[in-house]
C-alpha cells in the first residue's frame, strides 16, 4: 500500500529526476558533449592563438559570441536536438515509473525534463566556452583588452576568427549581462526545439520530426544569404546576441524572449495534451 497522498508537483519532479538518472548512463550523454567539445576546441583555436599572442587574459565571455558563427550555431543546436529527439521519453524502463507517478504527474515530469535538459546543455556550452580559453582566462566583469581589440581592430581577420565580436555588445552590456542574456536566449531556443521535436514526433513521427527540426537549425547557416527579414522567422537565428543588439533582427532581447516563450508554451501545451491522451510505452 502506498499510504502517502501524492503531490503532483513533487511527483513530477521525481519523475524528472528518474529521467536524469536514466540519461546519466546513456552513451549519448557522454558522446554528444564530447564531440561538441572537440569540435569547438578546433573551431575556437584562432581565439586561443590571439589571446596567447596578445599576452593578455580574457574575460570568460566566449559563450556570448559562439552563436555569431552560423557554422558553429548549427552543430551546437543539433547537439540539443540529439537529446530531445526521443521525446516523449517512452522507454521500457519508464513503465515502472509511470505506474507509481500516475498519468498526470508522469507526463508533467516528462515535460519538465525538456527545460531541465536545455538548462544542462546550455550550462555545458557556457562551461565549454570558459574551459576552451584556459589558461588565457581572467574572471573579471570588464571586457578587457582581448575582446575590445577583437571588436575594434581587424585582428579577427588576421587570426582567421569565424566568430564575430561586435562593438554593440561591448557597449550595451557588461560581460556578466551579456553572458546572462546569451544564456537566456540559448536556453529558450533549446527548450523550444525540445518541445517542437516532441510535438512533431507525436504528429508526424520521429524521422520526419528530426528532418524538420534539423532543417530549421541548419537553415541558420544559410539564412544569412537570404533577405534579412527571413531571419525573423527562424528561432535558431535568435541565439545570436549580436544580431539582436545590432538591430539586424527586428526584435530586441525582450522581444526574442517572449516570442520564444510563447513558442515554448504552445508546443509544450500540444505535446502534453496529446501525450496525456495517448497510450504510453509503445
Amino acid at each position: 500500500m502506498r499510504p502517502v497522498k501524492r503531490n503532483l508537483v513533487r511527483t513530477s519532479c521525481l519523475v524528472t529526476l528518474y529521467q536524469l538518472r536514466a540519461a546519466a548512463a546513456d552513451l549519448k550523454t557522454c558522446l554528444v558533449p564530447g564531440c561538441i567539445f572537440v569540435y569547438l576546441y578546433a573551431a575556437v583555436s584562432p581565439v586561443r592563438d590571439f589571446i596567447a599572442s596578445s599576452g593578455e587574459k580574457a574575460a570568460p565571455c566566449l559563450f556570448v559570441f559562439l552563436f555569431s558563427d552560423v557554422n558553429l550555431a548549427g552543430p551546437l543546436l543539433a547537439g540539443m536536438l540529439l537529446f530531445a529527439m526521443d521525446a516523449p521519453f517512452y522507454g521500457r524502463d519508464r513503465l515502472f515509473s509511470f505506474l507509481r507517478a500516475g498519468r498526470g504527474a508522469w507526463v508533467a515530469g516528462q515535460a519538465l525534463f525538456v527545460p531541465v535538459l536545455a538548462f544542462l546543455y546550455t550550462s555545458f556550452l557556457l562551461l565549454a566556452g570558459t574551459l576552451l580559453l584556459f589558461p588565457g582566462i581572467e574572471f573579471s566583469n570588464r571586457w578587457g583588452k582581448v575582446w575590445t581589440t577583437l571588436a575594434m581592430s581587424d585582428a579577427w581577420a588576421e587570426f582567421g576568427l569565424t566568430i564575430r565580436v561586435t562593438t554593440n555588445i561591448l557597449f550595451n552590456y557588461t560581460p556578466a549581462e551579456a553572458l546572462a542574456a546569451a544564456f537566456l536566449l540559448v536556453f529558450l531556443v533549446c527548450t523550444f526545439y525540445g518541445f517542437l521535436s516532441w510535438m512533431l514526433n507525436l504528429i508526424v513521427g520521429q524521422a520526419a520530426s528530426l528532418v524538420v527540426c534539423l532543417a530549421d537549425i541548419v537553415i541558420v547557416a544559410r539564412v544569412w544569404y537570404f533577405p534579412e527579414w527571413t531571419r525573423n522567422l527562424v528561432p535558431s537565428a535568435w541565439t545570436d546576441l549580436a544580431a539582436i543588439t545590432s538591430g539586424s533582427l527586428k526584435m530586441d532581447l525582450a522581444g526574442a524572449a517572449w516570442r520564444l516563450g510563447a513558442g515554448i508554451v504552445l508546443t509544450a501545451a500540444v505535446s502534453i495534451a496529446v501525450t496525456y491522451r495517448s497510450d504510453i510505452g509503445k
Binding site: 515509473s97 507509481r100 504510453i280
Partner: protein, 205 residues
Amino acid sequence: MERKETVSAEGLVKYFGSEPVLRNVSFSVEAGTICGIIGRNGSGKSVLFKCLTGLYIPDSGKVRIDRDSLGALIEEPGFLLHYPGLRNLVYLMEIGGKVRRDAAEEAIRLVGLEPGDRRPVRKYSMGMRQRLGIAQAIMEDPDILILDEPMNGLDNEGVRDMRELFISLKNKGKTLLIASHSREDIEILCDRVYEMDKGRIALVR
C-alpha cells in the same frame, strides 16, 4: 456472503489502427483470490493488462481498479541497467512517495535475490531480472498485483518459489491477476481462469 470485486472491466474495446485487439472484454476478480488469464500469443493479454494499469487508454469500456494500491509487472522488466537492483527499487519507491529501504530489501530476499548485490542490473541474468521485476511489484505491499507471465525465464526452483510466494500473498488477502502460458501454474494457483482468444474473453472455470 458476497465478496468484494477489486478489479473489473466492462466492455473494453481497444483498436490499433483498424485492428481490434480487445473486443468487448468484461471480467472481474474477487478480492483475495488469484485469477488466471490464458490465451495464445497475440490474443491480447498484455494489452488488457496495460489498459488495467492505465498505460493504454481503451477506446471504450470501463476499468474499475484502485491504482493507488497496485503492483504490476508487464512484459519484460525494465530497470535502469547501470544501477544495482536495490538502488533501482529505492528510486522507484521515491516516485511512489515513500521510501522504505527495509521493505525493498525484504522484497528482494523474498524473490531469492541478494539485497547486497552491488552489480548493475545490466549484469543480471534474464531470470534474475524477472525476479527483480516481481520484487518491484510486491515491494510496496499493494493490495492488487497484475503479473504478465511472471514465470518467464525462471528456473524450476524459481517457479516453485514464486508459486509459494503468490499463494502466501493470496492468503494475506491480496488479489492477483496472472497471465501465463503454463497450464500447470494456472492449475495450481488460480481460483478462476479466463481465456482470451483474438481479443475476446471467456470464463473457463
